[in-house]
Structures are given as structure tokens and as C-alpha cells.
């Protein structure tokens, strides 16, 4: 299945989807060294976003979160790609400065954790469920 979205940062990525219905705050919410979600009571708490296609509705929290994504990238702990329902400033800027392929305006309810997903610029492809 193919879905067309809006390119936030161009590029291609493929990997296993990690999906949450909750917004993510990278600053304080994700460990920049390991990529583990550490926000208390978050759906993904304890799971690592490293190398995943991270699928979440939108970002939240401090604008410093853009730098956290950059730090994750430098530490090899960043997601391979990001898919949002509605991207906002923090994630957009973070994806751009970290050069992580990022696309939004996607119906993320169609994607489940564990799905194999490909991002090719503005197009998201579910390879198999």
C-alpha cells in the first residue's frame, strides 16, 4: 500500500515501524545516547527508536528537542525515518538538521508496530504487514 504525504526532509529510508498514538517530546522524553523512550507513562516507554521508522502524530515539548534529535543522530541512536500525522516546528527542524527523512500528512492509523515500511521522499509504502 502506498500513501502520499508532504516532504519535511527529503530522502529514503526503510525499516521496521515503531508506532504510537501519543505525541513525542524528544527533549527529556528520549535518551539521546541510546534512543530509548524515557518519558514516564508514554506508550513507548522503555522501547528504542534507534534505526526504526518512527511513526507518531506530532511533536511536543521544548524546542531544545530539535537538538536532541541531532544528538541522537550523532550517537547513532536516531530513527531511520520519521512519519507524522502533522509535523510541527521541533520535529521538522530536528529532522532537517539531523538529515533524517521525514514525511507528514500521512494516515498513521494504517501503520502498525512491526510493519516493514519504506519512505521515499513524500511517499510511504507498506511493504508487508
Amino acid at each position: 500500500m502506498e500513501m502520499k504525504g508532504r516532504i519535511i526532509f527529503k530522502g529514503k529510508a526503510e525499516g521496521e515501524a515503531l508506532v504510537t498514538k501519543q505525541p513525542i517530546s524528544f527533549y527529556g522524553g528520549v535518551d539521546p545516547n541510546t534512543g530509548e523512550v524515557i518519558e514516564k507513562d508514554h506508550e513507548l516507554q522503555g522501547q528504542s527508536v534507534k534505526g526504526k521508522i518512527l511513526v507518531f502524530p506530532t511533536g511536543k515539548g521544548s524546542t531544545v528537542g530539535s537538538y536532541t534529535l541531532y544528538r541522537m543522530r550523532k550517537n547513532g541512536a536516531a530513527p531511520a525515518g520519521i512519519i507524522n500525522k502533522e509535523c510541527e516546528t521541533i520535529v521538522a527542524v530536528g529532522a532537517i538538521i539531523s538529515e533524517i527523512p521525514c514525511v507528514d500528512k500521512i494516515d498513521i492509523s494504517k501503520i502498525k508496530t512491526g510493519d516493514r515500511v519504506r519512505i521515499d521522499n513524500g511517499t510511504v509504502t507498506l511493504i508487508k504487514n
Binding site: 537538538y67 536532541t68 541531532y70 544528538r71 510541527e88
Partner: protein, 398 residues
Amino acid sequence: MYLTKEEQRMLDGEEGYAVRKSMEILVALGEIYGAERLIKVGSVQVAGVSYHNLGDAGLEFLNELAKDGKVKVLTTLNPAGMDLENWRQLGISEDFAKKQEMVIQAFEKMGILVSCTCTPYLIGNLPRYGEHVAWSESSAVTFANSVLGAKTNREGGPSALAAAFVGKTPCYGLHLDENRVPDIHVKVEATLTKFSDWGALGYAIGKKAENKIPYITGIRDAEVDELKSFCASVVTYGAKPLFYMEGITPGAERWPVPKDTVTVEQRDIQEAYDHINDEVSDIDFICIGCPHCSIKEIAEISCLLEGKKIAANTEFWVATSRSVKQLADKRGYTAVIEQAGGKFACDTCMAVAPLKGRFKALATTSAKGCFYSRQNGMKTKMGSLEECIEAAVTGKWR
């Protein structure tokens, strides 16, 4: 979003890495928020300066940009995590200082004025009515929009830097008049009798006009220092970074007074104090200057401290910009304050310095200062400058 040929070339990387990254940021934000084009900005204020908030990743990113990035417009800087000269006396560690200096060097290399103040409008970055600017620092953004009548969104650190390297910002949000329409009328029926009442008023209006643009009536007069404190408070406690104050904000009369009306009464001011003030009487930290002190405020502090002594085990800080401190040095205010045992914290402030665990209880004139100091684990007391000086001299509140 429409791009001119020149802008397209910048996006294609013809002006190097920093400009390309900047254009990518500006275009993405423009697309997200539905901007049709980029517009020129008169100046930029960059936040995200304290190493405490940036960390090594932020520093690395700034170093990347500094390799070939030069700002195209007047660009000033927010406070850093320490006084760049006097950091030892203020208890900052060697490691932190080293990293903070590297951050500052990166900004200097970009051609930014390392003004390190949240009050750029007091040191020469002063936009005119109607001018488009790209500022970060919520209190300064609110002051620019509401006291000066300039137009700016609330930028984050990277998006402000991007605007500086390109000289432009995407035209959306508060750059467009259609998004600057006041949507709640706030009638102030309370009487403001001391300086900290402006911070309390900011709290009250911030709560009543959460995420709205208030049109404020009932204020007869306001000094710049009072407005500066009010701006910091109203946006910290919930309003958008734009308000109209009848008789004060340039062009306020162009807008219709919104029908939706709330009133601020004396008891709302009292409630603000009740919320901001903790139960505490022993004070070990007094900090004046959130936002940074003007020369007039420093003159008042000097006058009140003359011939007095700060209590033992109590720190008294005056937070201000280095430019304003130089005036205070010349006029002799610095000497009076330091003779009393007070310290100057230039280039930094209580909101961005690494103060967690250092002090138990703060006294200040600033509502915003209380908000951030609570996050640093302090109990807080807000009052007039006279009350704060008394706390500094006695180590006790009242």
C-alpha cells in the same frame, strides 16, 4: 511556497552549507504553516545559548554552521549559562565554562553580536512599528510585538539562526495582520501599586487569556521597565506573545475591542501572589533582573543598597547585559552594589544558569523568574524591589 531565483539558489546550496540548511528549515516551516513566501527581516534575536540547554549536540551543530555561515542582518544573542567574565565568582564549574565559551565563539564566528541579553531592545536591537523581525526569547518576542508594534513569531533557536543566515523568514502567523486580531477584551479594574504587581497582572491575564491575544484596557500609564516585566510574565503564564494595551501599544486603536470580556480585579492580583509565593521565610538567593535590568533599575538598586550589607549566607545578584553594566560601572552604581556584597551576573540569568540545587529560596521582583526558579527546585517569593533588598540585608522575607 514561492521562492525567488535567488532563494532557490540558496536552497540548492550555492551559498554553502549554513545557508542551505537555513533555507531547508525556513521552507519546511513555511510549508507546515502555509506561508506563501519569505519576507525580509530587520533583525534577529537568537535563543538557545546556554550550554546547559544546548549540550554537546547543540554545540556541534553550531560549530557546523559557523564553518561557512555569516549572518545577513543585525543579530543579537540571548543570555548564556554564565557570566562570561565573572563566572568563577558566581560558582560555575571549569568544565561548564569551557563548553560555554566554545558556544559563544561559534556565535561570534557567525558575525552575531554576543550581547547575551534577553532585552535586545535596550542595547540597540530596536525594531520600529510594523517592522518584520525574527526573534526568539518569549519575553522579547512579546515586547517587540506588543510594546514596539513590530511583527515576529516566537522563533526557536535554530529557526532564528536560519532567518539570520538568509535575512528572511516565512510569512505566516504573527507576520500577517489576519492573525494579529485581538480575541479577548481584558478590563483591568485592579490598582497596581508596586513594581511586582505588573508580574502578578501578567500571571492573571496569562491565565484568563490562555492562548489568546488580549486587548487590555484600564491601564493609565506604564513605564518601560514595568512593561518589560509584564511581557515576561503574561507569556510565561499562558497568553500568546502579543497583546494590545490601550494607549500604549502603537496601532492598538486600529482594532475593534473584542466582545468576549474578562475582568481583572484586585483579588486576581492577590491570587497571583498567592500562587507565585511559597510558604518560606529564610531567603538565600535574591536575584533582580528577569528580564535583564535596565540602567534605571540598577540606579534604584544602588540607591537602596547604599551603606547596607548583604546578609551572610545570602547571595544577591543583579542580572543584566554587559552593555548596561558598563554604564553602571561609569556612574558608580556597580561599586555601591559590590561594596554592599552584591554581585553582577552579566550575560546570564536565573532562568538559564545551572542553578539546580544551589539555593533553597529565591526573592525577586519577577514572576517569570519565580516560574523558572521553581523548576530549579527553589521556593519563591515575589515582591517590590524594597522588599527584596530587605530580604537581602536580613536573609528573611518581611
